[in-house]
């Protein structure tokens, strides 16, 4: 086929421009590690990448939400431990106060100490989350769940949050675990013990020892329930960690550029550009001779 020098030069010029354009693209891939930046680069890969990115963002939010719920359970567990500690001391005081060898002044002092412990326990039962919500109030979380007398004002509604894509879990424990609804009215029992000690009535004081032991068991059960919930959330966090790895791999597969492949491409294009330049020079030189 007949081909003129002008045509050859034009072809080389087009080739050089195309190579330069490809070099810019390859250099971008090498520097950013991203092979698909816009939908027009590869619509299917971009859509896959975008879905994966949204899943990654969603996973991050789930992780944050679960961690916050886990933190609330830690606080709840601490509150229960404080209640156990307080109740253990009250039981000790009740055992002493129920003894016939204890005198009235001793029982009065014990009653006063129980009053102080009671206030501390109420504060623990009215513990709040880092967000300011009352942990044991159920969905009445904007008001203290226990009043000054230890009466429960909250409800039994547990919060159900999304912990993974369309996976939901109940979080927390309500204050009803401290009430008669769960067996023994713990705060009511403490008040009764305090009243018996103030009345210098060892027999009545002794009669509450079983309830105090039962209250400790009840608190132990509540702690166990909290632990189960915490364990469940820990499992969710583990699943989210695994998901993070698989999503990162998927994202990289969808829109990421293989660095070695991109670098090789760039090197080849650079060689191609140099070859185009040499050939173009030769053609111009031939034309000048002509």
């Amino acid at each position: 086929m007949r081909i003129t020098e002008t045509r050859m030069l034009r072809l080389m010029s087009d080739r050089t421009m195309n190579t330069q354009s490809s070099i810019a693209k390859a250099a971008g891939q090498v520097s950013t590690g991203v092979g698909v930046e816009r939908p027009s680069d590869d619509p299917v890969a971009w859509a896959d990448g975008m879905r994966t990115k949204l899943s990654m963002d969603r996973r991050d939010t789930h992780e944050s939400t679960v961690e916050r719920a886990r933190d609330n359970l830690n606080r709840t567990d601490s509150a229960f431990q404080e209640l156990v500690d307080g109740l253990s001391r009250i039981r000790e005081l009740a055992v002493l106060g129920g003894s016939d060898s204890y005198d009235q002044s001793g029982r009065t002092a014990a009653a006063i100490e129980i009053g102080t412990i009671f206030e501390g326990m109420l504060a623990s039962a009215n513990a709040r989350s880092v967000d300011g919500e009352y942990l044991l109030a159920g969905s009445n979380s904007d008001a203290p769940p226990f009043d000054d007398t230890g009466a429960y004002l909250g409800n039994d509604v547990l919060r159900t949050i999304e912990v993974n894509d369309q996976t939901f879990k109940q979080t927390g424990v309500t204050g009803s675990v401290l009430t008669a609804a769960s067996g023994i009215d713990i705060f009511g029992t403490i008040v009764s013990v305090q009243n018996a000690l103030e009345a210098n009535d060892p027999a009545t004081t002794r009669s509450f020892l079983d309830d105090l032991a039962g209250s400790l068991d009840q608190l132990g059960y509540a702690q166990a329930e909290t632990g189960v919930a915490a364990n469940s959330l820990d499992q969710s966090l583990g699943a989210l960690d695994e998901l993070e790895v698989s999503l990162a791999e998927s994202f990289s597969t969808s829109i990421g550029a293989d660095p070695i492949e991109a670098a090789t491409w760039l090197a080849n294009l650079s060689n191609e550009l140099e070859a185009s330049r040499v050939v173009s020079e030769r053609i111009v030189s031939l034309m000048s001779l002509g």
Partner: protein, 453 residues
Amino acid sequence: MTNLFGLLGLGGRAYGAHSAGVATIGNNVSNVATEGYSRQRVDLNADIVLGGVRADGVYRTEDLLLGMQERDNASSLGFASSSTSALLGLDASLSAIPSSLPESISAFFDGLNALQGAPQDGNRQQDVVQRARSMAEGFSGAANAISSAAENAQLRASMLTGEINQLSATIAASNETLALYDNPTVADQRDLAASRLAELVGGSGRIDPDGQMRFVANGGAVLVDGDRTHPMNVTTNPSDPTSISVTVGSGPSPRDVTTELGAGQLGAEIEFITGTASDSMAQLDQLAFDFATSINAVHTSGQAADGTTGLPMFDIPLTPAGTAAAISVNQTLQDDPSLLATATLGEPAGDIGGVSSMLALRDGLTAAGGTRTATDEAINLLAGVGRLANDAQAAESLHMARGDMLASRRDALSGVSIEEEMLRLSEFQRAAEAASTYVSTIDQMLANLLATL
């Protein structure tokens, strides 16, 4: 029998013919880089009456079929190039929105997920309202991107019309000249103008037996017929960037060719305005409308912390049209995010029924007539534009390759090779020298004869 004067005339004609050859080569070489130039050759023929050689004129090397193929490809290439440019522009604009539409919709739901953990946390409520605003801005940003792209296409279409009418005038003027006398340079100019016109408006330029070019746009509207032109006119509506009207012909009833063109750069601009931009805007509006309506429905059936029933979260028009550009977050909610209806109606403030119901819409098939989630529809919308741009790029590459092939064929037939021209120049110079020597010899013979007499 030829006498000496006859032989002298034969030598003179030969000299003139070869001189014309040298002049033609000079013209070829000086136009070696002229776009659309076809190399010219002097038409040398044997003079059967007077004998010897004579130059009957200059002709250009051309192939009418190749010319038509080039114009046809230019039409397709023009369409593909303009489509690519417009679609890549829209793709880039939609990608340049700070937080893309799918991301902003998803981020809104992420905010709701975070709010589930602490529905009365003022910071999280504020965050959800902020995310709702970002999402509304994402919708309006996408709507603006589509509108701007369509407006730019309208502007380009208007500018193209000027060039189209000018090219039609050039072809008509060339026809007028060529009707009077044959001129290869004017024919080249006409071919070049026809090729460019095909690139702009599609259609083809056919050369009739009388040598006149008749240019017919796609759909059948005649733009040039001999020395007459039919002007093209573009009308746009500034208040509606997705509308355009193109007519051919002057007078009271010009022909409306808006839906006929479908080729060339103008066809691509029309297709972009009335097709891609219009469809994308409708899809975006529908998505915004469906999404806001479903969120509003849930929000107004929930309850805020103060016990009041939820307000509509988004302010939108009554119908989908224009929703993407107009959507905004209820100003009352923006002023007081605690009015977010986080609870189920009748439940305490710490209830998260309202938040959970809104969050459930994330995976609900609320878009595209109940076939997709909102984020999937947003992804589908953007990927759809990307897919069209990708297809247009592929078509452009294909037609560019075909154009290269045709250009190579044209070059093989009509291109000027300096090397080849130099060889022919040498031939003509030698022939002219020979003719000159021949004339000198005859002249000498005549001189001797006259001296003898």
